[in-house]
Amino acid sequence: MSLQHTIAAISTPAGRGGIGVLRLSGAEARSIATQVLRFSQPPAWEPWRAFLAELEDAEGTVIDQVVVTYYAAPRSYTTEDVIEIACHGAPVVLRAGLDRLLHAGARLANPGEFTLRAFLNGRLDLPRAEAVHDLIQATTLYQARVAAQQIDGAVSRRLKPLKERLLGLITLLEAGIDFAEDDIDVAAAAQIIERLDPLLAQSRALAKSYAYGKLVHDGLSLAIVGRPNAGKSSLFNRLVEQDRAIVTDIPGTTRDVVSETASLNGLPVKFIDTAGIREGGDQVESLGIERSYAAMADADCTLLVIDLSQPADAFDAELAARLTGPSLIVGNKCDLPRQNPTECLPVSALTGEGIDALRQHIHDLVAPEGIQEAGFLTSLRHARLLDEVVLALERAKVATSEQVPHEMLLLDLYSALTPLDAITGATTADDILNRIFATFCIGK
């Protein structure tokens, strides 16, 4: 992999949005773009200004009207000359445009190579580079906001008080060892435990926040199950806010699993509409029913839809018994006279009544109490690092109660510090000494 070449790639994911962008980065960006684009007048390449051009295929036929933006080095994402060509999104156009760029002398960028260049050229630090990757992958605005906050170091900020506390304890013990000749008291086990406990609580909470962060990051799958014609598909359409599933009043219309991802109070939720579950029926339908059970088993949570306009049914009860994990019973058709006393959340897919409350209920079902928008972990790497912190602190606690000498206890504390350092930046021996000198009156 050479960093000398000018690289090109389609820099928007396939099939998303109305605009696709071709991106070029490197010293040759302008000369390559000039070969591929037709301009009404010779381009002035005025930086940070968008201008119109036409994209030609190999035969010189215009295949798209495009908007071209030139970012002059070093004020660009990669700090190299960067040109972005915004096309009208059709995958075939983008691919043709990319082909032309490659023929004109660009090299196809490796996955993540723009970010790598930005990183190598000193534009981004490691956690920010990771967050940019997430930003590119963001499906919902909320996800984008979380990713943007991580770029600004929200994770580092959240970790800072934890790291401060840990460093405080390390400083206390190190001062005791290196300055035993000065009148610094030997920290008692109880005093150490007193400091370890809040550290453990904090890091455990952070490690746990990944479960929610993962939902924001990866999305959540929600299976909608119920008897035939309970209104699962109507509810599904309500929740995804488009007529995605086929809705009829003939029981068993949905023969297969239909899914769609939509934002639910900011969480990207993959709603899975399953075939009506009913014993018997034709063969296709029972296949669909099997898939429904499978979807229930795989989904992060389940909505059991019952029909409030029909009397309670033993079959509903049996389905309810099958529910595992986070789940909610929703009574549909609350606009009709109620025949079914089962305790549930009443909604009407038809009128929209209760839908907002349902959204909130689903959110509360998966989000831990008091979770804040900023600061939960969304990266698996960060979560693993926090797990390491927790394990090391737990070892430290055991070691303290076993009266293990402090220089060994410190080994556990440094094992807890190292993963934090991997996110927030390194702590050196001099940093610890500086803290000692600032905290204790040392020296003869």
Partner: protein, 610 residues
């Protein structure tokens, strides 16, 4: 015709003595030039050797075949093993020495070296040959005009380079209290195009012991069983003296606060930077105003002297204030001051000018050791002295320099820290500087370094035999502990338990060995068993560090060719020119992101090469 030596050592302090003896023992025709042959190995500050981390350094110097440990054992008057409330990795010996006897004993030890010549004279310049495009040291010029040629020169001038002492408003040029500074050599070194700085250190007043009311102070006895520094010393049975503990008084705090503007430190007359871990008493009062008293130690400077060192009261206040401060302490009302405390400033060379062998990168065959490199402490000086001595000798033997890795000794940490980071303040060793503290113990310093000393020819047969015997005993004891059971449990398992000590089995071990176990061998065995879990964890970290930091940075690597590095980081890398990625990471201001960038570039480079 000028006299020609193999190695010329300039200075005879704690660095100079080690360097001189190392070169002489390695078979080189060595000369040590000093301004005053009566003041070899003078203890210019506290006559104590060791202390936490410093005791480790002395053990390592000894394990390599150095001299400091033996001399301390011979003239120590109070021995204490520090930090015993913690684990064995941070136990560290300290000894109060008889100041005069230390000097005398060291001189006689050095005089027994057949290859060593001791000369009196002031070196006023290093002879430098710059033919052939590269500067090279070829000897020294003395004040009297003599030129002494040498294949390598080691400079160990302590605080003498342009030394300037301060007592209150008064200043006078000196190298140490009452001795001439090295001005001509200092000025020559300033002109060599090396980065240099001014550092500062201080010393407290000395009192007349006959005028102290000793019964008013708490006595601090030495250990019942003294812990020797040298692996060659089996036992110390000299009678021990007591030190005494005193505290500062409110009156003293008031006096300092009122007169602090007269302190050389606070009046702005001192430009040099002093050590934070060894602050003057005025610093302690100003920086920690809430602390109502500070500890002081009254330490006799020898058996046949009245001088008492007031440890903890380093100061550059004027004489009259010092006298009042002393008198303000209960029990010292009548104390008479023999010498006043003072601060001293001196030139130090930026140690980033050196390579791992402590040789100047710009001037071949010129080695620097001790305070000139920005350190403080006899032990740090001695350690650099032996490293510079060994490497000067290796240079003349056309052998590669000896580098102790950070993972194998405080010696390695000291050198690596100095040459990677330089010193903003006088550098002192601390155990917290060691990444692998559990491995770097006083009990296994010989394990780690005696084979190195043997390899270079510094460890003589007596030490080597002792070492081999200890290793042999250790293996036998370990085997026995693994094979012997008590109430169905192996002894090696029992010893892991809290409260069970290897000492409990001492009589059986003596019977099994057929002799007394060598000094320290039981501690090594016990430590390795008791803390095997932690030691194994540390071992894994050592492996990881070797892997991560081991990537070599090619000689002459162009850091400027990497656009991802900030100008600041690039400047720092150029300044030090690290040899490995690990060393680069330890340079202050070189960020983890910069290391990641370097890592990617180095791997791209090696991919392209292959």
């Amino acid at each position: 015709m000028a006299k020609k030596y193999d190695v010329m050592i300039v200075g005879s302090g704690h660095a100079g003595c080690e360097a001189a003896r190392a070169c002489a023992r390695m078979g080189l025709n060595t000369a040590m030039v000093t301004m005053n042959v009566d003041l070899i190995a003078q203890m210019s500050c506290n006559p104590a050797v060791g202390g936490i981390a410093k005791g480790h350094l002395v053990r390592e110097v000894d394990a390599l075949g150095g001299v400091m440990g033996e001399v301390t054992d011979a003239v120590g008057i109070q021995f204490r093993l520090l930090n015993t409330s913690r684990g064995p990795a941070v136990w560290s010996p300290r000894a109060q020495c008889d100041k005069k006897q230390y000097r005398i004993h060291m001189k006689s030890v050095l005089e027994r070296e057949p290859n060593l010549r001791i000369l009196q004279g002031e070196v006023c310049g290093v002879l430098i040959d710059d033919s052939g495009g590269r500067r090279r040291a070829i000897g020294v010029r003395l004040h009297d005009g003599r030129e002494l040629l040498a294949g390598a020169v080691v400079i160990t001038t302590g605080t003498f380079l342009n030394g300037l002492a301060h007592i209150g408003e008064q200043t006078y040029e000196c190298g140490r209290n009452g001795e001439s500074p090295a001005v001509m050599l200092g000025n020559q070194l300033r002109g060599l195009g090396l980065r240099w700085t001014r550092l500062k250190t201080g010393t407290p007043p000395r009192l007349d012991g006959r005028t102290i009311h000793w019964d008013r102070f708490e006595a601090q006895p030495g250990d019942a069983i003294p812990t020797p520094f040298s692996f060659l010393t089996s036992k110390i049975d000299r009678p021990q003296i007591h030190c005494h503990i005193a505290y500062t008084s409110p009156e003293m705090h008031r006096l300092i606060a009122e007169n602090v503007h007269r302190s050389a430190m606070y009046s702005g007359r001192i430009e040099g930077i002093g050590p934070r871990y060894c602050p003057s008493i005025e610093d302690k009062i100003v920086k920690f105003p809430d602390k109502d008293k500070h500890q002081l130690f009254l330490e006799p400077e020898g058996l046949d002297t009245n001088e008492v060192y007031v440890n903890g009261m380093s100061t550059s206040l004027p004489y009259d204030v010092q006298a009042q401060m002393i008198a303000s302490i209960e029990g010292l009302e009548d104390a008479e001051m023999i010498r006043a405390g003072y601060a001293i400033e001196y030139d130090a060379i930026d140690a980033r000018e050196l390579n791992h062998g402590l040789e100047l990168k710009q001037i071949e065959s010129l080695f620097l050791a001790g305070q000139i490199n920005g350190t403080s402490g006899y032990e740090e000086a001695a350690c650099q002295g032996i490293v510079a001595g060994i490497n000067a000798a290796r240079k003349l033997q056309n052998k590669p320099s000896v580098v102790v890795p950070r993972t194998e000794g405080y010696t390695g940490i000291l050198v690596d820290d100095l040459i990677s980071k330089g010193a903003d303040e006088p550098y002192r060793m601390f155990t917290s500087r060691a990444e692998f503290r559990l491995h770097l113990r006083i009990d296994n310093a010989d394990d780690r370094l005696t084979p190195v000393g043997r390899e270079v020819g510094l460890v003589q047969d007596d030490r080597w035999e002792l070492f081999r015997r200890k290793q042999d005993q250790r293996a036998r004891i370990e085997k026995w502990l693994h094979e012997t059971k008590r109430s169905g449990e192996k002894l090696s398992v029992l010893i892991k338990r809290q409260g069970t000590r290897i000492e409990d089995f001492r009589p059986e071990i003596v019977t099994m060995l057929g002799e007394e176990p060598a000094h320290g061998v039981l501690t090594v065995v016990e430590t390795e068993i008791k803390y095997s879990g932690y030691l194994a964890q540390q071992e894994r970290q050592i492996e990881r560090m070797k892997e991560a930091g081991g990537r070599l940075i090619p000689c002459g690597f162009d850091f400027g060719g990497i656009p991802g590095l900030s100008t600041e980081v690039r400047f720092k890398l150029e300044q030090v020119r690290p040899e490995t990625l690990g060393q680069a990471g330890r340079i202050p201001g070189v960020t983890p992101a910069a290391i990641a960038v370097l890592d990617v570039y180095l791997s791209l480079r090696s991919q392209n090469a292959s």
